[in-house]
Amino acid sequence: MLQLPTMPDRGGPAQPLLIVKDLKKHFPLKGGLFGAGGKVQAVDGIDFEIRKGETLGIVGESGCGKSTASRLIMSLIEPTDGEIIFDGEKVGTSALPLKEYRRQVQMVFQDSYASLNPRLPIEESIAFGPMVHGLNRSRAIPRAHDLLTAVGLAPAQFAHRYPHELSGGQRQRVNIARALALRPRMLILDEPVSALDKSVEAQVLNMLQDLKAQFELTYLFISHDLNVVQHVADRVLVMYLGRVAEVGPVDSIFDAPRHPYTQALLASRPSMDPDQRRTEPPITGDPPNPVNPPSGCRFRTRCKIAEDVCASATPPLAEVAPMHQAACHANVTASGHSLAPREAA
């Protein structure tokens, strides 16, 4: 029934679906006539991997480079440095040309309205991808209708509508349907529910869970809402100012965060209990400007346990618990930080 087949699993279950190595993106600043402007270090060397079938959640504050990272992975922008390996093959090589890669990875954006062409009926928007990949229209349209059904929109009622005739939640469903149209193996969800009302957010989250099972998907789920990430992710990656602060299994991160930033982030969540209101803000100040980030550990300017070493050396991502790594000198043996574990005996 679905004429575009899923791409085969090449690397086997043990091969991570996606490996990101030292990915960097520096945007030159506009305005310099002679190119004398600085640059925004939006993403500055991140490494992580996503296993087949899991949901990796990325959290971080606004401007920390989440969207840039997702666009890099999607190959929508050229990385300054680093490489992406999908199912064992380097993206963009002859083994995995870009066009083929793009069939396997698709993306859903935050702004549901901006991600739909306002001049196309939604069925056309959904059918666009398959048609690019060689399906003819007469088969792509019925397929679009199936996908609409899959995301809970009755084709008879919605297929011919234009984006402005839908509510935000409905539009986001269309976006998801569109992303699924190529039968991808992985979906990058860049804050897919941030713009939605709570009641609609729940609908979409539920649906994403269902679709994941139904289409055997792997998710890269980006959000700044810790609760949402905790709800959907198997593993969580915490970003701060273009770098990875901490990454690990969701329970490990939420129960025992090891990076002071993650701790602060968790402590910043409203309590949901009027009797146990927060009294002290966990950290003060705003995230710094990525144009000239602090030296060493980028979090040190707001960190309560910052010491001299944090300014001079960049903390490596070190294993702090099984599968759980954090980039904080306080966790690195013999880093010079007073809280660092002593040399193992």
């Binding site: 600043l29 305005g31 006539l33 600085g38």
Partner: protein, 314 residues
């Protein structure tokens, strides 16, 4: 800030150079041998050859341009084919007159336009708005040379209140004797800026009035006077830009009005030059007016920078 201004000035230099290239090319797009475009057809051979040498017309284009630019930078815009006088001298006199005319028309147009535009924005959707907008559309739609003609008949011939033509006796002076010559052409010329300013001001002011910060200002209980100040400062950069453009357009676009009113400015000079195919004059006038325009844009940009703190980015 200063750095930004310097940068902006630096940016104007390549523009100015490119503009000069376009002006330079005017001689070369004219059909035939460029030498025919800069000397009268009945010039003796040896003189023609002399001019050809002087302008390097026997050399490749880039060199010709360099030679020409060298002349221009020394204030030599060549000689008029018709009068054989140096173009620069007449042009300065003419440009001064055109400037008087354009500036007056601009000031008048800006005043009326800003007034009508703000009125329309504050009373958006009412008959005041509709009236102002009709006026504005009328202003930009009317062929002003036609309007000028009608005005002359009405005000000069029938009512005999203003002179019909010319810029008054002798050199220009800001006295009533001369100003009365200015009124009709300036009025005619001002209908486009009135229309455009009304539209722009209406647009920008109503956009500003719809912005969140205006709600904040109202929420602070500010008096209308203070609110106006906020609106003005926010609208100023855009309006300044339009005003700068308009003044430039008036300087460069007064050709028809000057012809109708025999106003001895660059416009009527250009018109005469076009008929005589007096290319050096066309070239010189175009160059001077375009340079003025480049300067004007530069000044407007710098003024915008001073008003709007957001323009200067680190």
């Amino acid at each position: 800030m200063l750095k930004y201004i310097l940068r902006r000035i630096a940016y104007a230099i390549p523009i100015a150079l490119s503009v000069s290239v376009v002006c330079f090319m005017l001689v070369h797009i004219a059909p035939g041998d460029p030498i025919d475009a800069i000397v009268p057809p009945d010039t003796p051979k040896d003189v023609v050859e002399q001019v050809r040498k002087d302008y390097g017309l026997d050399k490749p284009l880039p060199i010709q341009y360099a030679v020409w630019l060298g002349h221009v930078l020394q204030g030599d815009l060549g000689r008029s084919i018709a009068t054989r006088r140096p173009v620069a001298g007449d042009l300065i006199l003419a440009a001064r007159k055109t400037f008087v005319l354009a500036l007056t028309a601009a000031m008048f147009g800006f005043a009326i336009g800003i007034f009508l535009g703000s009125l329309a924005a504050f009373f958006k959707g009412t008959w005041i708005d509709r009236l102002a907008v009709s006026f504005a559309v009328g202003g930009v739609s009317v062929p002003h040379y036609w309007l000028g003609m009608v005005m002359v008949i009405f005000f000069s011939v029938l009512m005999n209140v203003f002179p019909a033509m010319g810029a008054g006796p002798g050199d220009w002076q800001w006295d009533w004797q001369h100003i009365q010559y200015l009124i009709l052409p300036a009025l005619t010329l001002s209908c486009t800026p009135i229309g455009l300013l009304t539209r722009t001001v209406r647009g920008i002011v109503s956009e500003i009035l719809n912005q969140d910060f205006v709600t904040t200002l109202r929420g602070k209980g500010l008096r209308n006077r203070t609110m106006m100040l906020h609106v003005v400062k926010n609208a100023a950069p855009t309006i300044l830009a339009v005003m700068g453009l308009q003044l430039g357009y008036l300087m460069g676009g007064s050709i028809l009005v000057e012809t109708i009113f025999s106003w001895p400015g660059t416009g009527s000079m250009l018109n005469a030059a076009i008929f005589r195919r007096d290319i050096p004059v066309i070239q010189g006038a175009t160059l001077v007016l375009a340079m003025f325009f480049v300067m004007l844009n530069l000044i407007v940009d710098i003024m915008q920078t001073m008003i709007d703190p957001r323009i200067v980015r680190k």
